[in-house]
């Protein structure tokens, strides 16, 4: 049905979807100044939840909603304990990720390895018939489509709208945002919850679409998403690129192993993408790319600069209180 390249690319877009969704969710949370370190456990718990709810109720919307609620609930604990109780976000997140993973394994035991419910594929009429692009981009289910447009949505929101500007400002300099009349802490709650809900959605994308059903081998995906947000320097386009790159490299590594072209232990092959990722990062952060800016037309300079020269939100992981 598909040619080799088509199916490889199609596969990459499918398997990268949850990482993209979780990455953009975490990006929103962190842009507001909150670190949700519980990504990994949250993804496992919400994937398990979506799987179980889908089996029990037969309703996919309910399954997705439940997964998103789980994601929001976990991040809610992080924000309450940091903004409300002044606990350390990193410590709370770390404990929560372990807790959620164990909870997912414990609660999911009865449903382990049962066939999962799959979200039906909805090819887009007309577009699906475009040669090459049709099969790669336009024959997926709703969640995958969402992952494809999410990056654009997030980019548009944070760089083009006024609330987006405010979102960036509370993670950067909450005092300055406060002076300009921004309710810093309520907004931090709101954006953290939104980001958490997206992480939950990423979990649902695994169990309802990418790795059908509930297995414990999901562990690790959340850490990848977390790492990609950092490697992507909190820029939506870079985060998306990082997600597709890592998943692409991973699938190439698996193909190579299957084809016996290289004869290396599986663990080494699995490490290759990370190695390449670090090289890419080195290249991206080296001065070499700065030169690119100089040769861009003025109109595109801000966008190009934003892509190349980004820095972490300065108030990340800190709390804000009025004096």
């Amino acid at each position: 049905m598909f040619s080799g390249l088509e199916s490889t690319l199609r596969g990459i877009i499918r398997s990268a979807a949850p990482i993209v969704i979780a990455g953009q969710g975490e990006l929103i949370t962190e842009r507001a100044g909150v670190i949700n370190l519980a990504l990994d456990g949250t993804i496992m718990l919400s994937a398990m939840t979506a799987h179980v709810v889908a089996r029990e109720t037969g309703s996919l919307p309910q399954a997705i909603l439940a997964a998103m609620l789980v994601g929001a609930a976990v991040v809610f604990v992080v924000v309450v304990s940091s903004i409300g109780l002044r606990l350390n976000q990193v410590a709370v997140g770390f404990v929560l990720t372990v807790l959620c993973a164990d909870l997912a394994i414990f609660l999911g035991k009865p449903h382990f390895n049962r066939p999962g419910t799959e979200i039906p594929t909805m090819p887009i009429p007309l577009l699906e018939d475009i040669p090459f692009f049709g099969p790669v981009l336009f024959r997926h289910n709703l969640l995958i489509y969402f992952s494809l447009i999410l990056t654009l949505l997030v980019w548009f929101y944070i760089y083009r709208t006024r609330p987006g500007l405010t979102l960036r400002s509370i993670g950067e300099q909450p005092e300055a945002a406060f002076v300009r009349g921004t309710p810093v802490n309520p907004l931090r709650y709101a954006y953290a919850l939104l980001g958490g809900a997206l992480v939950g959605l990423a979990g649902a994308t695994y169990s309802l679409s990418v790795k059908l059903g509930w297995k414990e081998d999901l562990s690790g995906e959340g850490w990848i998403a977390l790492a990609i947000v950092i490697f992507g320097l909190w820029v939506p386009s870079r985060v998306a690129l990082g997600a597709y790159l890592i998943v692409g490299l991973r699938s190439i590594a698996i193909d190579l192993q299957d084809s016996d072209v290289i004869d290396l232990p599986a663990q080494i092959v699995n490490m290759l993408p990370w190695f390449l990722m670090i090289l890419t990062l080195l290249f991206a952060t080296s001065g070499a790319l700065e030169k690119v800016v100089r040769f861009t037309p003025d109109r595109f300079k801000p966008a190009v600069r934003r892509f190349l020269r980004a820095a972490p939100p300065r108030a990340l992981g800190t709390t804000f209180e009025k004096h």
Binding site: R162, L165, S169, E172, Q173, K322, H323
Partner: protein, 487 residues
């Protein structure tokens, strides 16, 4: 427009930052809020601009009392403030900074904002390109941006907190011209917060002086600089008689030392201190006395000149060598540089003990700490964390940690933030050490402290240090003139 502050008080824990301050500001004038560091200037202005709330007192604009919950409330009533640390967003563009916090719909009207920005920047000749990123701007340009932003929000009272720190001379001229134009042409009230006399003299019509959290007086500018200094530093009181201690051998000799301080270079400082002598260092903040005292402790290398202790050259020696040779230094930031927050008195004591054994005899440490607490009149228990003590008790405890028979004791603002009672007990202890032969060099912003305790005074101003040999004969005016730089 008339803004009145009425009986404003504010405390932070034990610190009384503002005590019952009442001031008036009218449109068309440029005011100065003058005072040494820690006098409470920033706190008062943050209260007026809605950033902090007062414990007591009220702010009245044109006869109407305001209830300011946030800075935006103050801006709505026409009061805007430029904070001491710029409150902007460095990774954003100038335009984004300008837009942030302005009312409007979901999609900001960039073109309109651009126009508004251009209109104001053109009027004042600021060269602010809306597409530039704020992290590429100088502090002066960031100030300009913030002024433009506040003006576009129609403020009628503009407060600037220490705006001349960290900007170039040209930028200062531009800034002052803009402020004069705003007061003259737009009838705005401009309030300059500063501890720099030269800025106040150059720009302002009326100076309100704060000292130790209180309003101590106002002066119409121009006026003799010594009168402002007298207000800032307090009146010189009668010098009490005290046992005259014979000067012993010379312990510290500083010869022709040149020190590069933050804003200026102090040339050719020479000082010979003998045992049991007390030297007071006076001067406006940042005149080089802080660097000088650190040079005497081995913490700040002088550019040239020699420093000798007991005849031994210490010019390139480290802090450790100095302390081995019997020099101790107590910096102004007690909790930041001196003591360790979270550790108990006993733990502080144990830290200072040298012992060949790798473990600590806690029983003994507690006993000796208890003894020190008693001898040095510290109100606290061996197990109290240091930050739970009041400032005076912290300072007395810090003194008790210093070993006996020091050759030279260097102190920076030893009684800053302490009440009179505590200050007196600190000096009792210091004079006791003096009787044992320790030479004392201290910095203070209180003229009466300098005059009553010093045997000689070294006054820092404008890159020079002038020695005053007989403080008892010194008049307040004369000292004020020296500190303020008028011969």
């Amino acid at each position: 427009m008339l803004v009145e502050l009425q009986n404003i008080s504010k405390t932070f824990g034990r610190v009384r930052a503002n005590q019952d301050i009442s001031l008036k500001f009218e449109g068309g004038h440029i005011y100065a809020i003058l005072g040494e560091n820690g006098a409470g200037k920033s706190t008062l202005m943050k209260i007026m601009s809605g950033y902090q709330s007062a414990d007591r007192g009220q702010i009245v604009v044109d006869g109407q009392a305001l209830d300011l919950k946030a800075p935006t409330d103050a801006i709505a009533h026409g009061i805007g403030m430029l904070y001491q640390d710029p409150l902007d967003f460095p990774p954003f563009t100038i335009l984004e900074n300008f837009i942030a916090g302005r009312p409007g719909g979901i999609f900001p009207d960039r073109a309109a904002a651009r126009q508004q920005l251009a209109a104001i920047t053109e009027r004042f000749g600021f060269g602010l390109d809306p597409n530039r990123y704020v992290d590429t701007l100088t502090i002066g340009e960031r100030q300009q941006l913030e002024i433009v932003r506040l003006l576009s929000l129609n403020v009628r009272v503009l407060v600037l907190d220490e705006p001349t720190t960290g900007i170039s001379a040209e930028q200062k001229t531009i800034l002052f011209n803009v402020l004069k134009a705003l007061a003259r042409d737009d009838r705005m009230a401009i309030i300059l917060v500063s501890h720099k006399l030269e800025d106040v003299i150059e720009l302002c019509d009326l100076a309100y002086v704060l000292r130790r959290g209180r309003f101590v007086g106002e002066k119409t500018v121009p006026c003799p600089i010594s009168e402002l200094v007298a207000l800032m530093f307090g009146k010189v009181v009668e010098r009490q008689n005290r046992p005259n201690v014979m000067c012993g051998d010379s312990v510290l000799t500083v010869e022709a030392v040149r020190i590069a301080a933050q804003r200026l270079t102090v040339e050719n400082v020479s000082l010979r201190v003998c045992s049991s002598e007390v030297i007071g260092l006076a001067g406006l903040d940042g005149s080089g006395q802080g660097e000088f005292i650190r040079a005497c402790a081995g913490l700040f290398p002088p550019q040239s000149g020699t420093i000798k202790l007991n005849g031994r050259s210490m010019t390139r020696a480290s802090y450790h060598d100095f302390s081995q040779a019997g020099v101790a230094f107590l910096p102004a930031g007690r909790m930041e540089e001196g003591l360790i927050k979270g550790m108990t008195l006993t733990e502080h004591f144990a830290l200072t003990q040298r012992s060949p054994r790798p473990w600590i005899n806690w029983f003994e440490a507690r006993q000796i700490t208890a003894e020190r607490i008693k001898n040095f009149n510290v109100k606290g228990r061996p197990g109290s964390p240091i930050q739970t003590l009041s400032g005076g008790n912290q300072q007395r405890f810090a003194l008790s940690l210093l070993r006996q028979n020091l050759k030279v004791l260097l102190l920076e603002h030893p009684t800053r933030g302490l009440d009179v009672e505590s200050a007196n007990t600190i000096w009792e202890q210091l004079l006791k050490r003096r009787e044992q032969g320790t030479a004392i060099i201290f910095i203070s912003a209180e003229l009466d402290e300098i005059v009553s305790y010093s045997d000689r005074i070294l006054v820092f101003f404008g890159g020079r240090a002038t020695m005053v040999d007989d403080p008892a004969e010194m008049t307040a005016d004369r000292l004020g003139e020296l500190i303020g730089g008028r011969e």
